[in-house]
Assembly symmetry: C2
Homo-oligomer: 152 residues x 2
């Protein structure tokens, strides 16, 4: 099954925005992501509704991060993009009246819910500031000659 890359994508966008310091347009962000401006708007729309980013129309407009990076956790972002499934497996929903199926599903569900809780707990504790720090550490580790690693 295909894995959802929305969380990864939105984090990528957010760090680029934060790094810029001034409003970035959907088009600029799309170029960095090698995707389409409308896709960027769709991704960020949920974050705007959640108050994590701000968008401005017209000349000089674009997207900005609305809070301090340390005040935004991965869990905030996860919720803002609509809490997509974390676990790749689910139950067959055919034959839910079969007791065998019910026993199987109950056993699997318990494990899956536990793993989800673990992930969410970790997401609560990781902030955008921490990700930005990791990025800057990687940048510092680079030879000085080639420090334009941020595309776009």
């Amino acid at each position: 099954m295909k894995r959802d890359s929305r969380l990864s994508g939105v984090l990528h966008i957010l760090l680029h925005m934060a790094d810029a310091g001034e409003p970035r347009t959907s088009e600029q962000l799309a170029k960095a992501m090698r995707t389409n401006p409308v896709v960027v708007r769709r991704l960020l729309g949920g974050l705007r509704d959640a108050g994590l980013v701000h968008s401005e129309k017209g000349h000089g407009g674009g997207w900005t991060v609305a809070r301090n990076l340390a005040a935004i956790s991965l869990a905030d972002i996860y919720r803002a993009i609509g809490r997509p499934a974390l676990i790749a497996m689910g139950n067959r929903d055919d034959a839910p009246d079969c007791l065998v199926e019910q026993a199987v599903n109950a056993a699997l569900e318990a494990s899956f819910r536990e793993a989800e809780a673990l992930l969410l707990a970790r997401f609560e504790r990781v902030t955008l500031a921490a990700l930005a720090d990791e990025f800057h550490a990687r940048l510092a580790a680079l030879p000085t000659a080639c420090k334009d690693p941020v595309h776009g």
Copy 2:
């Protein structure tokens, strides 16, 4: 994204097989699963290669469980069906040369690997025998009047 139901499905099949005590054909199992015989064969093919089930052609042929139920763990089955992804999220593989993307991916990967390890550890400890017990407990909890809950 769509959730993979192969593990759930194959467990359903295995418990039906175990419950029957004699060889079940793909067609019988498919009827219980409300699916196609070929789907059943595909699901069980990996388990046969792993030695978990046995298949026999011709008259009186069909599928049987090859080991004691207590000697088959969910992890055995998970591996036999090809270790499908447990986590529904992945990395965008565009722009892997971007340090921002790398930092994001590294942070997410760590969490995902931890959740996967948790799930696998649980799968190691759950046997088919345990699932069968849970099924029989559910059966016993039913009013005596309606004890044909196993379809097919």
